[in-house]
Amino acid sequence: MNYSIMSHMIASYPDERTAMQVAKGLSRGGASYLEIQFPFSDPTADGPVIQEACTKAIENGFTLDRGFTFITELMKIIDTPVYIMTYAAPVVYIGVAEYLRRAKASGAAGCIIPDLPVGSDEGMYQISSELGLDCVPVIAPNTSIARLQEILNVGPKHIYAALRAGITGTKTELTEDSLSFLAEVLKYEVKVLGGFGIRTREQVSALDERGVASVIGSYFVERLESLIETDADIEQGMSDAISSLV
């Protein structure tokens, strides 16, 4: 039985060549979706593991041009759908329409921008639906039902449910609270991705039972760190990391 996983990675981290191996490994190992983060200097929804990796990627010369080129190159060799995650600052800076047009042209399936929430999205949901791009809203356990409906009204295909309050990275226990929050979201006709602190097969399996795909981020960044440290084969190592979870 294969579980559905959205695996997260960071463009240009630790460098472009290695990032390409990471993407290939995750795709080969069974990822249903790749979430590729374009680094931003001040990632307020992320924990220390991802922030540090983003800082390094920027120091190593990450640019939007390089990021989109990376996606274009990647899409020539894999067919796993790619979602580009980033923050509002670089997007609003070049213009939401321009950013989405470039994302579409690169072959990405969609975008995730947590600080452009529905209603404060600078036209992102409107423009992306015109382009046929799947923008994924992020919700949290304290999102009210009224707000959830407001979000679903923009017609997203997927919704990303953070399974607890806080930031990425620290481990999440799948409590009754987080499961009942999921149950609420699952009433609607939208594919649910559950994330924040998912790092074991038990968690993935518990989510899968409910029809929820797992988003796994910091865990893979940490796996990558240890592969680099031990000078191991990156593509194989990342493929193994995800196959033990799917």
């Binding site: 001040d42 922030q51 939007l64 670089p90 997007v91 929430p117 999102t143 806080g166």
Partner: protein, 404 residues
Amino acid sequence: MNTSDNGFFGEFGGMYVAEVLRSPLEELKSAFNEAKDDPVFQSAFAEEAKTYIGRPTPLLHAKRASKALGGAQIYIKLEGLANTGAHKINNALGQGLLAKRMGKRRIIAETGAGQHGVATAAVCARLGLECIIYMGEVDIKRQHPNVFWMEQYGATVVPVSSGSRTLKDAVNEALRDWARNYDTTHYLLGSALGPTPYPDMVREFQSVIGNEVLEQTRDLEIEAMIACVGGGSNAMGFFSPFIGEKRPRLIGVEAGGNGIAPGEHAVRMDGSGAVSVVQGYKSYFLLDGEGQVQNTHSVSAGLDYPGIGPQLAHLGKEGRVEFERVSDEQAIDAVKFFARNEGLCFALESAHAGAYAMRLAPTLTEDKRIIVNMSGRGDKDIFITARAIDEDNWISFLEQEAVR
């Protein structure tokens, strides 16, 4: 219009936050709107402002400084005489009382220079609230006296080692903490920026400065009012009652640092800033060509921040507030000048406003009046100013102290 239109000042402001922060912000907004119109809350604030902060702060006619410069009469609003040494306590008190009213017993805050941290820690001690202060490692190094006092007031000071390790990174950490702990915790943001309702709320609590000036200048015609601008809390509070009027001229002074090269200053309003969304609000920010937040520099930690409050961004764009820049060196010269001529010790932040007054006064006639907001006093800066002004004696003093 002095308050935001649904969180926006023209095109600036808003609530660009991850979904998890939406409901805490909505909760805060309604709590603030109820409290500000509640006479019980108002009188609690007024009473503490009088007996604990020491309000009203004086408006001083700086006669010798005016004469030495030869021109307009300079008046100085002595916010530095407020308890804890700066205007920051006005907002800390207001939000502290509000947090208590909301049943939040844990307070978190960011600090740059440490003045907001000290004010928050003091208010928490006064009100019996738990206090955690996030402060960049770089700022901790340059503002040790404030760290010491925060800890004496019972606060836990958490060093922030991510990013540029200054004010903006402390804001990031505070936002992360709040996203985890909003049930029990109030985020006591110190500047008139961030997602709505902060820009409105901070301005309202700081408007006590401007309202006093209005009272203190009842029979006087004022040509210009000058305030330093980091995020903009002292400027917004000082300008607040005058925004809807055509006069006086309102002048915001940004940190010119060491020069105009990127990374050497914190000037956003001369065209260096780009419109984008950072830390939950839309405004002008110092970004590189990729939309990444740039490093900034100022001798004053409190002005060392890449963004400007959304209302000031709007007022600047509309032309109601004029913006000027003052360099590190000019700010230090202003500290020396007002110490020598008026017996006043300006904080390095406020000295930026003082320095611009020194530039403006000689261009005006003697019958004109300008007011400088001395938003803080400079005791906390002694490790920077003493080194800059009298390095040899200061170093030998420190050496003697170390072995004593």
